[in-house]
């Protein structure tokens, strides 16, 4: 099959194995002599371990503690502070202390229940406020900040000096759990001469490999990481698999047997990273006509007990704090705060959903103050091609927001309904609109300075088949299909002649992690370039190997130290409209309409993009109104399964009507940009604006539960 139009949908190449049940997930591996590891966790949220009493273990049952970590007992992140297994210090309820390993999982559970750990408790810190008020001993450094950022643009001092009024508002957002179908799963298999092979559900095989090199203190050649079919990830399998692979590897090294760790839903929900709760404060200087002179914003993310990758999450929060608006004078501060709770991590949107919600609601509020419609007020500040970004970079490409707004208004009747619902408060109906962008790929200079992606393409002599060697994974988002389409089109050969095995670090170069909506735009572009080179050499009568390195687009300038310049090479854009009806008796929200318009550049497969939109918008609506996750007084998650952590079902929302605008990005494959994360960002603010109109309240937090709506209704009389 040849492609003239790459966007035209094809059947995903893994549909059959997934629908038939043939796909082999980690838990389907049946390796002879395989043992299981069960994690024994802390029941104390902060303290020191005074003693551990392990029950008598039967033969062929083992205990793995921090003392069994051959190398450095810290997971390799930007800051190496998170131990694989606790040494003496405990920083959160549920922290892994030791593993029990053996063949019978029921017996392991019984033994684990008999482990007695005594703690010396230290008063724990559970909130951002407590972490900053200096009453309790800091968890991290002297100020409890894992990261602390500040940047400015323009002249914020003069702007505030000239202000007629200054509007100050605070927004807060809650946890969100990735709730992938397949829980975290990892298997380590010991090989010859100290080699360890990892099979598991993951987004970033090389993160896992590099983490193990450090943790085992071993040569790179001794660690092989193979991704297994992965049943969803949403960021949740970016950071945590490094920890899990460590556990499995330590156990495999000690027992010299294959060791599997398969989390169940309870363990996965309660103890693995979630989206960072955020507190965001805007102080906006307005002139006499309520025009924005300047904005001061402060973002605080609850990082949990260890730094992990939170600093990078914060970067995305603070660099996207202005949403789609070009604001001349800015002063932005941001910090990741340490608390004695489960460390937070990556989740689709990566710090941006919190900021986009806050700026969109702030703009709603400013519009009300100015006495104009939200959309008119937003349009005053909407960025155009050539305008500067929050970090004083440049929006190089055309911004199609005006066209997208016109389109969404046409399909949703937004303007008419907004007016109508405003005049009919008795019906408790509302409609909200959100405008948003997503910086595609890594923040800042990560691609050229840290990742340095490399992709390989091979064709054997006398063969018509081409094999893609890349470390990027299919986790359900369709990369197995889209990468093949890109290669097939560039080579003008049938898709069936392209091989793209699941990544195995012994075979594939490091083309970087499967994160940050980068796989298509960055790695897909390398693939296209490599395929075009291979096509030129197709006639050669020998094996051909093409290695394609990443080259940063020439126009990108970034100074990370100053947070100055182009934080992203390109932006994808979205406009969402959500219509709601609120039951005035129960304060329950019904979503009666969803309309979306996206600019993701050229879709590599329209149906796959449609899938991203359906999933992203619904996940965003879950974040907005449904997904409540809280800790009890010991910092222990009150939600631990999919009955009490409620994610949306197919019954919950109206169907989504979507349009894509025609667009092309010069540095993406066939014009494609990132799409995966963008689709989640706009749902929450559009939903919040709709509920706000329906109930005549101002929404300043997520999730918007019925209980919260009741409180606001009482407050507003």
């Amino acid at each position: 099959m040849l492609y003239s139009d790459i966007g035209k949908p094809i059947k995903k190449v893994d549909n059959d194995i997934k629908l038939s049940g043939k796909a082999k997930y980690a838990a389907d591996y049946n390796i002879s002599e395989m043992l299981y590891a069960r994690t024994v966790r802390s029941s104390c949220s902060r303290g020191r371990i005074k003693s551990i009493k392990i029950p008598a273990l039967p033969e062929e049952y083992f205990v793995i503690t921090a003392a069994d970590v051959p190398g450095k007992n810290r997971i390799k992140f930007l800051t190496d502070d998170w131990p694989f297994l606790a040494e003496d210090k405990i920083n959160y309820y549920g922290e892994a202390i030791l593993l029990l390993v053996g063949a019978d999982r029921a017996l392991l559970k019984k033994l684990a229940d008999e482990v007695k750990i005594v703690y010396e408790e230290i008063p724990a810190i559970f909130t951002i406020e407590e972490a900053l008020n200096n009453v309790k001993k800091p968890i991290y450094g002297t100020d409890n900040k894992f990261a602390d950022y500040k940047y400015e643009k323009g002249d914020v001092k003069t702007a505030f000096a000239k202000a007629a009024t200054i509007v100050e508002e605070k927004y807060s957002t809650g946890y969100q759990k990735q709730a992938y179908l397949e829980n975290q799963s990892m298997i380590a298999v010991p090989g010859k001469a100290g080699k360890i092979t990892i099979y598991g559900s993951m987004q970033c095989p090389y993160y896992v490999k590099n983490a193990l090199i450090q943790a085992i203190g071993i040569d790179s050649s001794k660690i092989q990481v193979v991704q297994t079919v992965t049943g969803g990830a949403f960021g949740g399998k970016e950071d945590y698999p490094s920890l899990l692979a460590g556990h499995a590897a330590f156990a495999a090294l000690k027992t010299q047997k294959p060791v599997a760790i398969f989390y169940d839903r309870e363990e996965d929900t309660a103890y693995t990273p979630r989206r960072h709760p955020a507190e965001i404060i805007f102080k906006t200087a307005l002139d006499g006509e309520n025009n924005i002179l300047g904005v001061k914003a402060d973002v605080k993310l609850d990082g949990g007990a260890y730094a992990g990758i939170s600093e990078v999450v914060l970067q995305r929060s603070i660099y996207n704090i202005c949403g789609v608006y070009s604001i001349a004078n800015l002063q932005i501060t941001g910090a990741v705060i340490a608390t004695n709770t489960v460390p937070n991590g990556a989740f689709r949107g990566f710090g941006a959903p919190q900021s986009i919600f806050a700026i969109e609601m702030h703009m709603e509020s400013l519009a009300r103050k100015a006495g104009v419609s939200a959309i008119d007020y937003k349009m005053r500040y909407m960025a155009k091609q050539g305008d500067t970004t929050a970090t004083d970079g440049v929006f190089y490409d055309e911004i199609k927001l005006p066209e997208m707004l016109a389109k969404v208004d046409q399909i949703s009747d937004y303007s008419k309904k907004k007016k109508m619902y405003g005049e009919q408060p008795q019906f408790h109906k509302g409609i909200g609109i959100s405008l948003f962008l997503h910086g595609c790929g890594f923040t800042g200079s990560g691609e050229q300075d840290i990742i340095k992606a490399k992709l390989k393409l091979c064709k054997k002599k006398n063969s018509q088949r081409v094999e893609i060697f890349a470390a990027n994974v299919d986790m359900g988002q369709g990369l197995q299909t889209t990468f093949r389409k890109i290669a097939a089109k560039a080579l003008a050969i049938p898709l069936e002649n392209i091989d793209f095995p699941y990544p195995d670090t012994d075979k594939v170069p490091d083309s970087g992690p499967t994160v940050a909506s980068r796989s298509i735009m960055i790695v897909g572009r390398l693939l296209q370039k490599a395929a075009e080179k291979l096509k030129q050499r197709w006639h050669e009568d020998n094996d051909i190997e093409i290695i394609q390195d990443y080259e940063a687009p020439a126009r990108i300038k970034w100074d990370g130290g100053k947070s100055l310049g182009d934080a992203y090479p390109a932006y994808a854009w979205g406009v969402n409209v959500v219509e709601t009806k609120v039951d005035p008796l129960t304060y329950e929200v019904t979503v009666t309409g969803i309309w979306t318009v996206f600019d993701v550049g050229q879709p590599i497969d329209e149906r796959i993009i449609e899938g991203q939109i359906q999933g992203g918008v619904v996940q965003g609506l879950g974040y907005a109104g449904m997904e409540v996750m809280t800790n009890d007084s010991k910092g222990h998650s009150r939600q631990n399964n999919l009955t009490n952590y409620t994610i949306p079902t197919a019954m919950d929302f109206a169907s989504i009507k979507n349009c894509l605008v025609e667009s092309s990005y010069e540095d993406g494959p066939y014009g494609a940009k990132g799409a995966g994360e963008l689709t989640l960002l706009g749902a929450a603010p559009a939903y919040a604006a709709a509920v706000g109109q329906a109930m005549r309240i101002h929404i300043d937090r997520l999730p918007i539960t019925a209980e919260y709506i009741l409180d606001e209704v009482i407050k507003h009389g």
Binding site: A106, E266, L585, T646, T649, E707
Partner: protein, 280 residues
């Protein structure tokens, strides 16, 4: 290890109940979830299990004399599709759980689980449902409000089986059901209300209102209902007193799903709606 019994007749089952300390299981949609373990570990039941699915006598579903008889094996889905299911119960079943659970779960199980948030309970309270209990020694019948004693607690004796539910056939012509929950399917109720009433010549001559998830058991207040019916010529006068009765006796709690404040407010909102709008 626990034992499993799979009798084919009720007589056999009752004998097993008499001789062993067993836990009856029909659809298992509560019991399997409550006792499930991590992957690779069998569910851990603490008692021997009595599987009642093969007992034909418990699979009756019929209209008999003045009652509907619903056997203990009748699934939620079967009731959802039965033409004689009272409308108020039907309304609750439509929103209950999800198809897979409705295909396995039974109404008898929902009763014996005795959760204050059990979805079929408010309609059953409002319908004056009766549970039929049998043991080797004989049989007895109890109104559902006397059978359910508290969260997870029932009046079922160790050697007894709940064999059927009897619902008096009524001719109520107004029904209202509302469940507030986190989502529209597969959700546990935060608060729910079931109302069934009969209107004759513009007058309400019969009304039953049951509220779920606002106390240890479903709340149905005969005192309030009687006040309303006695004053059905001029209900406006007594409504404040009626609400006062509810206000005093609805005492919800905070839990993982919701707050006492929300439950109380929503229950009162719904009561106002029911008394002032629904039956107008």
């Amino acid at each position: 290890m626990v034992k499993s019994f799979m009798p084919k007749t009720l007589a056999e089952a009752l004998k097993i109940c008499d001789e062993h300390d067993v836990c009856p299981i029909a659809g298992g949609t509560d019991l399997m979830v409550r006792n499930h373990q991590s992957a690779g570990i069998l569910p851990t039941f603490t008692k021997d299990m009595l599987f009642i699915k093969n007992i034909d006598e418990l699979t009756v579903l019929e209209k008999k004399d003045m009652h509907l008889i619903i056997g203990a094996n009748i699934t939620l889905n079967r009731l959802l599709n039965w033409e004689n299911t009272p409308q108020i119960l039907h309304l609750a079943l439509q929103e209950m759980a999800a198809p897979a659970i409705r295909n396995m779960g039974t109404i008898a199980g929902n009763i014996c689980n005795a959760s204050p948030a059990g979805d079929t309970l408010p309609p059953l309270y409002a319908l004056d449902a009766i549970v039929c209990l049998k043991s080797i020694a004989g049989e007895r019948e109890l109104p559902i409000r006397e059978f359910i004693l508290g969260p997870g607690k029932t009046a079922l004796k160790e050697n007894e089986l709940l064999t059927a539910i009897k619902i008096p056939i009524g001719d109520n012509n107004i029904n209202f059901y509302k469940k507030a929950a986190m989502r529209k399917a597969a959700a546990i109720s935060k608060v729910s209300i079931a109302m069934t009433a009969k209107k004759e010549k513009d007058k309400i001559v019969n009304i039953a209102i049951a509220i779920g998830a606002v106390g240890p058991t479903v709340v149905r207040l005969a005192e309030a209902e009687d006040m309303f019916i006695k004053n059905n010529e001029n209900t406006g006068k007594v409504l404040p007193d009626i609400y006062d009765v509810y206000d005093r006796q609805i005492k919800p709690i905070d839990d993982i799903r919701s707050t006492a404040k929300y439950r109380k407010q929503v229950a009162m909102n719904l009561l106002h709606y029911v008394y002032e709008k629904c039956i107008k």
